[in-house]
């Protein structure tokens, strides 16, 4: 009974895996149809390619900034929603909306919000005397703008997870900490963060996995530009494979990406197996 499932998984993953590894060892031009064994030349050539290095730097920055900002913002939201208040249910539902939109809709909306000439953000900034910002066209800012979009879309996810985690902390702990003379910041840093530790790590890992594959937002918002200021590893592979048809170099970049994600998996999978034996 397990055969069809294993079959599909093998078809979709095992063969592609082997092929990616073997492609990475060949000079492989899909259009010309030539395939010559070059051992590790593709690896050598991409690690000395400034565009690849830039894509690694961009991806690292994006993962670090997005994951940390979303985790912090999600925690703040969960704390703000901790006590009951009138309208909490409806406010929670509204807060969850952004993550229910599809990524392309989110990207389309922000692309117009960020528009240099007639986007509302720049018009407001100019109104209050700050001048326009090249959200998606200034190479120093474009990646940060994508971080903002991801923050808007995915903070709700972190919020919901941490809200659930927060409910597992007995209320008395927080009250006791307050009676001991802690302010809000003291309670959060001495009680909440240590007790939520494992949950915070799980959420951060999930966001790391998701932000590491960043592609669709870049495609829709900047196309990797300006220059290659927002090109991620996924985008680099896309360009090598589907624009230049250089499957050897795309394969080598894929294997390196897999190496990075294997490190994440080494942390994440044992945790999951322990929670869910």
């Amino acid at each position: 009974m397990v055969a069809p499932t294993v079959g599909v998984v093998a078809f979709l993953t095992v063969y592609p895996f082997v092929t990616v590894f073997s492609n990475s060892l060949f000079e492989y031009d899909y259009i010309a149809g030539t395939r010559t064994f070059v051992a590790l030349d593709n690896y050598r050539s991409i690690v000395s390619d400034p565009q690849f290095v830039r894509s690694v730097v961009n991806t690292t920055l994006f993962v670090a900034l997005s994951t940390s900002s979303q985790t912090i913002a999600g925690l703040v939201l969960a704390l703000l929603y901790y006590e009951r208040f009138r309208g909490r249910r409806i406010a929670t539902t509204i807060t969850a909306f952004p993550m229910m939109l599809s990524t392309m809709v989110v990207s389309a909306a922000w692309r117009t919000l960020f528009h240099f000439d007639i986007g509302p953000l720049n018009v407001i900034l100019q109104r209050i005397g700050l001048g326009r910002v090249g959200w998606l066209i200034n190479p120093d800012i474009a990646l940060l703008s994508i971080v903002v979009v991801d923050l808007w879309q995915w903070t709700p996810f972190v919020f919901i997870m941490l809200q659930a985690a927060l409910r597992t902390i007995p209320r008395e702990y927080l009250e006791a900490a307050r009676i001991d003379g802690n302010g809000t910041i003291g309670v959060v840093s001495r009680i909440v963060v240590p007790l939520l530790g494992p949950h915070l790590l799980t959420v951060a890992l999930l966001r790391t996995i998701d932000t590491f594959r960043l592609f669709a937002k870049v495609y829709a918002l900047t196309g990797g530009g300006p220059g290659n200021a927002t090109e991620t590893i996924s985008y680099y592979i896309y360009r090598e494979a589907y624009r230049y048809f250089n499957l050897g170099r795309a394969g080598a970049a894929s294997v390196l990406a897999f190496g990075v994600i294997a490190l994440v998996a080494a942390v994440y999978i044992p945790r999951l197996l322990k929670e869910h034996p």
């Binding site: 009974m1 397990v2 993953t13 389309a108 117009t112 949950h199 669709a216 996924s234 494979a241 994600i261």
Partner: protein
């Protein structure tokens, strides 16, 4: 009502007593506005005329409310894209449930040699974690030689890369909780293995099946990468691709762009409460 007496809302007296509460209310209000403004922008832009959209200073309230954008995108065949998305999401969900359910059942009921059960589930997780771009090149060649490009069925099949790992993990969790004695009792009553599975096990794991169905549908609805690589024929495009094409082809056809955005968001927004509950229930349920 009783709750309000114990935890009074934000009335004047309690504000004076609790400045912290006022601060919290203000923070929540600001965050709600930040959440809602882009959503408002999407809806309001979709209701503006083409001329109003490109005014040098955007209007907060549309001067003329029009449904012309909706009519235009419907005339341009967006319903076709909507149907394509629906078919792909439906098909990939069915495949995931059938394969996920039978696979999870076998993995929880039989111990295969060489620790196959654990190894398989771990492998599936590695796939789940992997950026899909990494496997896309060989998958493209594979699907191309199998004649599965430009087909929604091919797309539904490749989406199993995302949805099947998820389905397997959720359903393994659920099926572990179904006692073996029930199956044994059914077998003694003369039910075959197929009947046992469908009549006894399936109803008992209904929660897991629903969760799997909704999450695979959401993933398929949102998917962009494989749709971009596998679909070339215009009549086959899914909604995310149609939106991407609008973005790249027409710089400022924002009214129409947002009209497609609104149409494609409605099915997902209806699922907000379900998703919220499901994510609240636990961390292992949220591989996404």
């Amino acid at each position: 009502m009783r709750l309000h007496r114990i935890h009074p809302g934000i009335d004047q007296a309690s504000i004076r007593r609790h400045p912290a509460r006022l601060l919290r209310a203000a923070a929540i209000a600001v965050l709600l506005i930040l959440t809602l403004l882009p959503l408002y922008w999407i809806v309001v832009t979709s209701l503006k005329t083409a001329r109003e959209v490109i005014l040098p200073i955007p209007t907060f309230f549309p001067r003329t409310v029009t449904v012309e954008n909706y009519r235009a995108v419907l005339d341009a065949g967006v319903l076709r894209n909507f149907a394509n998305s629906l078919i792909t999401a439906g098909l990939s969900t069915v495949i995931s449930i059938v394969l996920g359910f039978t696979g999870a059942y076998a993995l929880t009921r039989y111990r295969f040699p060489l620790r196959f059960n654990t190894l398989f589930l771990v492998w599936v997780l590695v796939v789940k974690i992997l950026p899909p771009m990494v496997l896309s090149v060989p998958l493209y060649e594979l699907f191309s030689s199998a004649g599965l490009l430009n087909r929604l069925s091919g797309l539904a099949l490749v989406y199993q890369v995302y949805t099947l790992p998820y389905a397997l993990w959720i359903l393994v969790g659920f099926l572990k909780g179904v006692p073996k004695e029930l199956e044994e009792a059914a077998q003694i009553d003369g039910a075959g293995p197929g009947a046992t599975l469908v009549r006894i096990i399936l109803p008992l794991s209904a929660g897991g099946v629903t969760a799997t169905a909704i999450f695979s549908a959401i993933m398929a609805w949102d998917e962009f990468l494989f749709a971009l690589l596998f679909l070339r024929r215009p009549s086959m495009l899914t909604l995310p691709l149609r939106i991407a094409n609008y973005i790249t082809e027409y710089e400022t056809e924002w009214g129409r762009l947002m009209a497609i955005g609104v149409l494609s968001s409605i099915p997902l927004l209806l699922l907000t409460n379900f998703t919220y509950k499901r994510l609240s229930e636990g961390f292992t349920a949220s591989l996404k």
